[in-house]
C-alpha cells in the first residue's frame, strides 16, 4: 500500500510548484494510472515514491513506513521500476540486465540464474534464446519485455512504471499492455503507471488520477471518471478515446 499525504514539491525554493498538496492512496494489488500532460507533475510524483526526488513537504508511506526513513538505494532495490524509453544497460546482456537488481541485493549466482529464467519466461523471452543477447540485438517490444522482467526480478510487491509502453508501435503496445495486466493480477502487484495515453489508462488501471499543473483534479475508477467527471479537463480527456472510437465507427459505416 502506498499513501501520499499533502505532498508539495518545488524545484526553486517555493517560487513555483511542481506539485501542490497532493494526497492519494494506492491499495495493495491495485493498478493506479497517473495521467496528465507533460509538466503536470505525474513523473515527479512517481519519482518521489522511490526517492529519485524528495518532497518539499508532506509524507509518503510505503507499506506503512515513511520513505524518508529509508536508505534511498535500498528502497529502490525493493521497488520495481520500468523506465520511459526502456533504459536498459546497453553493455549488459539480457540476463545481466534482468539480474542487475538481484546483484545489487547480493543474491547467490545460482539463485540469480534461476530467477532470471523464471522472469524471462514470464515475459515470453526464453532465457536459452535471449539471455546472452544484448539490448541492441532486440526489437523495441522485446527490449521493454526485458525492462519489465528487470523490474519484476527481485519479486517486489510494488512496481512503478514511467510511460512504459510509450515508445512502442501500436500492435506491440497493445500486446504488452494485455500481458502486463495479466502478470499484475497474477502476482497481485501494486502498480503506479504514469501515462499520457488515456486509452491505455482506461484499459489497464483500476483507478486513474488525472493531474494538471501539479494537482490531482480527480481520482476514481474509469467508470466514475467517464460518468461523473468533476472538471472540464477531466471530461475532455476522458471523452477523447470515446470520440475517436465514434469517429472510427462512422468511418466504417459510411464506407
Amino acid at each position: 500500500m502506498i499513501e501520499l499525504r499533502n505532498i508539495h514539491k518545488s524545484f526553486d525554493n517555493g517560487i513555483t510548484h511542481a506539485l501542490a498538496d497532493t494526497s492519494f492512496t494506492v491499495e495493495e494489488g491495485e493498478l493506479l494510472g497517473l495521467i496528465g500532460e507533460s509538466g503536470s507533475g505525474k513523473t515527479t510524483t512517481l519519482k518521489m515514491i522511490n526517492r529519485l526526488e524528495d518532497p518539499s513537504s508532506g509524507e509518503i508511506r510505503v507499506n506503512g513506513q515513511n520513505v524518508l526513513d529509508k536508505n534511498p538505494e535500498e528502497l529502490r532495490r525493493n521497488i520495481g521500476y520500468v523506465f520511459q524509453g526502456i533504459g536498459l544497460f546497453p553493455h549488459y546482456t539480457v540476463a545481466e540486465n534482468v539480474t542487475a537488481v538481484l546483484d545489487l541485493l547480493g543474491w547467490e549466482e545460482s539463485q540469480m540464474k534461476k530467477r532470471c529464467a523464471e522472469t524471462l519466461t514470464m515475459v515470453g523471452l526464453p532465457v536459452e534464446e535471449y539471455g546472452d543477447r544484448f539490448p541492441s540485438q532486440l526489437s523495441g517490444g522485446q527490449q521493454q519485455r526485458v525492462g519489465v522482467a528487470r523490474a519484476l526480478a527481485a519479486k517486489p510487491d510494488l512496481v512503478l512504471m514511467d510511460e512504459p509502453f510509450g515508445a512502442l508501435d501500436p500492435i506491440t503496445r497493445a500486446e504488452l499492455q494485455e500481458e502486463f495486466k495479466h502478470i499484475q493480477s497474477e502476482l497481485n502487484l501494486t502498480v503506479i503507471m504514469v501515462t499520457h495515453d488515456m486509452t491505455e489508462a482506461l484499459l489497464m488501471a483500476h483507478r486513474i488520477a488525472v493531474m494538471k499543473d501539479g494537482e490531482v483534479l480527480q481520482i476514481g475508477s474509469p467508470r466514475e471518471l467517464i460518468n461523473q467527471p468533476r472538471h472540464d479537463y477531466v471530461k475532455e480527456i476522458v471523452e477523447m478515446p470515446k470520440r475517436r472510437a465514434d469517429r472510427l465507427e462512422k468511418l466504417i459505416h459510411s464506407s
Binding site: 522511490n50 529502490r76 532495490r77 526502456i86 533504459g87 553493455h91 537488481v101 544484448f134
Partner: protein, 506 residues
C-alpha cells in the same frame, strides 16, 4: 651487409629496451594518473575547466623545454626519471579529455535507470558510466601511446636511452643510416602499439553490437596473441639492467661522440664495463657529473669559465685553465683529469676566396665592413658572453646574424650563403672546406682547452684514473680535426675515428 647498418643494428636491442621501458612506464603512469583525474573532472565542473586547461597548456609547451624544465626541477637529475615525468605530462591531455568526454556522453536515461534500480553513485560510475565510456577512454590512451612513442625519442637529450640515440647521433655525425634505423624502429613500435590498443578498442566497442561472432573471436584472438608477444618483450625490457662500472657522458656533437667512444674503448680495454649517455646539453651533463650520475666526459675550459662561472673576461689560456680546475674541484667536487691537448674554441672563419676579395686576415679587418656582412653561428654562439665580448672589443656588428645547426652552418659558408661563420678550431670541416681562420689580435675569444671532467667518486678508482691520464696531451689540434673530418666529411663512422685516434696515440 653494409658495415654501417650492421653497427647500428647491434645497438638495436639496447635502444629498443630503453625505448620500450620509457614508453610502457610513462603510458601506464599516464593512464593511472589521468583516468582518475578525468573521472574527478567529469563529476565536478569546478575541477573540469582548470584541469582541462592545465593539461592543454602543458601540451603547448615545446617538448624539449618540458624535458629541460623537469631536469632543472629535479636538481639536475638525468636519465629515466625526468624523461618519464615529461612523457607522463604529455600523455595526460588525450586521456583526461577522452575520459571526461566518454563519461559525459553516457545517455541520461541509462544513468537514471541505474539510479532508479538502486545503484549508488559509485556503482553507477563503476558498473555503468566507466564501462560505457571505455571505448572513448581507450581511444584517448591510443592517441597518448602514439605520442609517447614519438616523444620518447627526445629522452636521449636528458640521458635516457631510446631510439632517439640513433636519431641524434646520426644527425650529429651525418650518419643517415643511423637516423633512418631510429626513425623506422620508432615508427614500427608506434604502429604495433597503436594496432594492439586499436584492437582492444574495437573489442570494447563491439561487445554489444551485431558483429559476426566469428569475427569478434578472431579479433580477440589476435589481440590476445599480440598482447602475449608484447608482454614477453616488456618483461624482457623491464629486466633489471646490468650495472656498469662507469658511465661516460657527452654532449651532442661529433667530437663528443668520438672522444666518448675513445674513453669507452680505453676503459673496456683494461676490463671495465661502460655505458654511454650522449647527446646531452652542457648544463645537463655537467650537473649529472657533479652528482655522480655520469663518471667522465669531455669538457672545455671556456665553457665552464663563461657559462658556468659566468666570467666575461679573458685572462688567457693558462689562467682560464687554472681557474676552471680550481672551480670544479673546490666548488663542485669534480676532478679535472687533464687536458687532451687540442682546443675547440670558437673562431671566425671565411672562405679563402671571399677573404681575399675583401682583404681580410684578422678580425680587425672586419671593423670597417662588418655592417655589410652576413654572419652565421651555431645555436648558442650569438647568445654567449664571448660574442658580446667580441662585439664590444672590436666594436663590430653584422648586417645579419643567422643561427644554424653546425652541419648546415658549414654548408652555408661553403655555398657562399653567408660571408663568415663562428666555427670551431677542431672542426674537420675547417680543413675540408679550406676555410681561413681569422686572427684575434685583441684576444677577445676565449680559450677552449679540452679536458676530461670526472666525478669525484670515479677518480677513487686508480685504474680508471690512470687509464684516462694516459690520454693527457696526446691529441693535437690537427689530429682531432682529422678525426672529426673522418666522420663529418669523409662519411666514416665514429668507430673509424676512434680507431684513427688510437693509432696516433699509441
Amino acid at each position: 651487409m653494409n658495415e654501417n647498418l650492421r653497427e647500428q643494428l647491434i645497438l638495436l636491442p639496447e635502444y629498443f629496451q630503453g625505448h620500450l621501458t620509457l614508453t610502457l612506464i610513462a603510458l601506464s603512469l599516464g593512464v593511472v594518473i589521468s583516468i582518475p583525474l578525468g573521472v574527478w573532472a567529469a563529476q565536478s565542473s569546478a575541477v573540469k575547466r582548470p584541469l582541462l586547461t592545465a593539461v592543454s597548456v602543458i601540451q603547448t609547451f615545446p617538448s624539449v623545454a618540458i624535458l629541460a624544465l623537469v631536469v632543472a626541477l629535479l636538481g639536475g637529475q638525468i636519465g629515466l626519471v625526468p624523461a618519464i615525468i615529461a612523457l607522463v605530462l604529455y600523455s595526460m591531455l588525450p586521456i583526461v579529455r577522452n575520459t571526461v568526454t566518454g563519461l559525459e556522453t553516457v545517455a541520461d536515461e541509462v544513468i537514471e535507470a541505474a539510479s532508479g534500480i538502486g545503484m549508488s553513485s559509485t556503482q553507477i560510475l563503476t558498473k555503468v558510466r566507466l564501462p560505457l565510456a571505455l571505448p572513448v577512454i581507450i581511444s584517448g590512451i591510443r592517441t597518448a601511446a602514439v605520442w609517447t612513442v614519438g616523444l620518447a625519442t627526445l629522452s636521449t637529450l636528458v640521458g635516457a636511452t631510446s631510439f632517439g640515440n640513433f636519431i641524434f647521433t646520426g644527425l650529429q655525425t651525418s650518419n643517415l643510416i643511423s637516423v633512418t634505423v631510429g626513425s623506422i624502429a620508432a615508427a614500427i613500435m608506434a604502429v604495433v602499439l597503436d594496432s594492439i590498443i586499436g584492437g582492444i578498442q574495437w573489442l570494447a566497442e563491439n561487445r554489444n553490437r551485431q558483429v559476426p561472432a566469428k569475427k569478434y573471436k578472431q579479433v580477440k584472438f589476435t589481440v590476445i596473441a599480440m598482447l602475449g608477444v608484447g608482454t614477453a618483450f616488456s618483461a624482457y625490457s623491464l629486466l633489471p639492467q646490468t650495472e656498469v662500472d662507469f658511465t661516460i657522458g657527452g654532449k651532442g656533437f661529433t667530437e663528443q661522440y668520438i672522444i666518448a667512444g675513445l674513453l669507452s674503448a680505453e676503459l673496456e680495454a683494461v676490463g671495465f664495463s661502460v655505458d654511454q649517455r650522449l647527446g646531452m646539453g652542457t648544463e645537463v651533463v655537467y650537473t649529472a657529473t657533479s652528482n655522480d650520475t655520469v663518471d667522465v666526459y669531455l669538457e672545455y675550459t671556456g665553457t665552464v669559465w663563461a657559462n658556468i662561472m659566468n666570467n666575461d673576461n679573458n685572462p688567457g689560456h693558462k689562467a682560464v685553465l687554472a681557474g676552471v680546475t680550481d672551480f670544479v674541484e673546490d666548488e663542485e667536487g669534480m676532478i679535472n683529469i687533464g687536458v687532451l691537448g687540442f682546443q675547440n674554441r670558437y673562431v671566425l672563419a671565411m672562405r679563402k676566396d671571399r677573404a681575399a676579395e675583401l682583404g681580410v686576415t684578422s678580425i680587425e679587418d672586419l671593423i670597417a665592413i662588418a655592417e655589410d656582412l652576413v654572419a652565421a653561428g651555431d645555436l648558442e654562439f650569438f647568445g654567449r658572453p664571448e660574442w658580446i665580448t667580441l662585439r664590444d672589443t672590436y666594436n663590430i656588428d653584422f648586417a645579419e646574424k643567422l643561427t644554424f645547426d653546425p652541419t648546415l652552418m658549414y654548408t652555408a659558408i661553403n655555398e657562399r650563403q653567408v660571408d663568415l661563420i663562428a666555427g670551431y678550431t677542431s672542426d674537420g670541416r675547417i680543413s675540408a672546406y679550406d676555410l681561413l681562420l681569422l686572427e684575434d689580435p685583441r684576444n677577445a675569444l676565449l680559450p677552449y682547452d679540452s679536458f676530461l671532467l670526472a666525478s669525484s667518486a670515479a677518480v677513487e678508482n686508480q685504474l680508471f684514473t690512470e687509464t684516462l691520464e694516459a690520454l693527457v696531451n696526446e691529441i693535437s689540434d690537427d689530429e682531432m680535426r682529422q678525426a672529426n673530418r673522418i666522420v663529418d666529411v669523409d662519411g666514416g663512422s665514429v668507430s673509424d675515428a676512434v680507431a684513427y685516434l688510437q693509432s696516433v696515440i699509441n
